[in-house]
Amino acid sequence: MSSLTSAVRDLQRDLENKTNDLSKLQKDIAKNHQVRKKYTVQLGENELVLKELDLLNEDANVYKLIGPVLVKQDLAEANSNVRKRIEYISAELKRLDATVQDLEEKQNSKKDAILKLQQRIQSIQTTKGKA
């Protein structure tokens, strides 16, 4: 009998740990989503900028706002900068995608483990109850 209760307690502690892990995972996934959103917005903006830059004449003046300073920039330079930024953001997004996939998988497996634990606990409790 006592062994059963201690087994149940062990299982329950295990369950707690797993649920903590699960909640951590979920928080990570949520953060990931947020960062992804930010990046997606930035990517969209940069693509708009690129489009506009393409419509400019060669002699048009382009300025970049760096802090409180508006600095004149070369059109070609601005173009290449924006393009590089777009590439960087897309790479980041892909990386984040992979991470989130990974996290989700881990989350699912944790959920399964938790379920199994719960079932075990229940079965033990029912046998205890019967006994």
């Binding site: 048009a60 003046n61 382009v62 300025y63 920039q73 924006v82």
Partner: protein, 361 residues
Amino acid sequence: MEDTRRGTVTSLASLFPVEEAQKAANRVQGAMAEKRAELDHLLGFVADNNNLINLVHKLPEELSHEIMVPFGKAAFFPGRLIHTNEFLVLLGEGYYAERTSKQTAEILRRRGKALDSQVDSLEAMIKDLQAEANFFGQTIAEAAEGLVEIREDYIEEDTHGEESKSGPLKQHTSDLEKTEANNEEYTRMVARLDELEKEEELAAESGNDNEIYEQTTEDDFHKSVSPVDQSNNKSIATESAEKHHNPDIADQLNFASLDLQSNVGEGKNAAAKKVKFVDHTGKPLIHHEEKTVKATTASKSEVQHQPSQPSFDSHKAFTGSIVEHTENLKTLNGQSSSSTSSQVSGSQPSKPVSRFKMQRR
């Protein structure tokens, strides 16, 4: 024959517990409110953009404008606005470009178009949420009124074999009219099945479209409706609810002819008639008596007590997965794929092969 029908009465409230439906409805309302707020935000942007375009048009009309220039947080001084045709336009990400007023107006117009498309997509989303909310509202109202779902045995009238079967037709029994079903019916069925299969193929297209919708609504259903068994019912239910609001839907689910559900709403009845299987399996042949469209089938769950039901993929459009009676399932299980089963064979346990094959194509 009409008066000998038996049926089950299930209160809708038990299928869709009122509180849960309420909760779901509230959730949808919350999501809608969010989207509306975003929409207002975007509309504000659109308005600002338009004002800006007007201003940009007006400025070059004069060589210089007399204005009050803001100075710090709380002061102004009179000044003049010069170079009225030169604009430093923000392109995004801290990039500015020097443009004339006409070019600036172009840039602003393009931005306005992008905003408009965003507004459109938001509006579409709001509409969808609205439809969901309506559905929930309806469900709640109906459940509150104590609307009941009545299922009765479908008793076919065109064969004499039916007469004898109508007696033992019960919903909760897994009575097999094996003895009753005889070869002539069998041959008839087979011919029927072939026809139905063809119709199913036609239905395959329309069936696919609804699948997606099913899946999204399925989640809501899952929350509001209870256990596992129902999951099958729900997908079918939602599908049917979406598709045809046809009372026969639940019935359909049990029958190969259900494939028709995806295509021929009306034809279902006709098909159902032809598919007499119902008798055998004792599944509630949903008939016109069925009062509600919500085909979440309590009866189905009963029916599906039959243990070895052919594997039912609740995420696929229902295509004729027919629950077979246990006696026959043993022989048929091996052969049936996820959606094949044969009610006809229910009557002929000796025949090992599932004659009625309705497969999802």
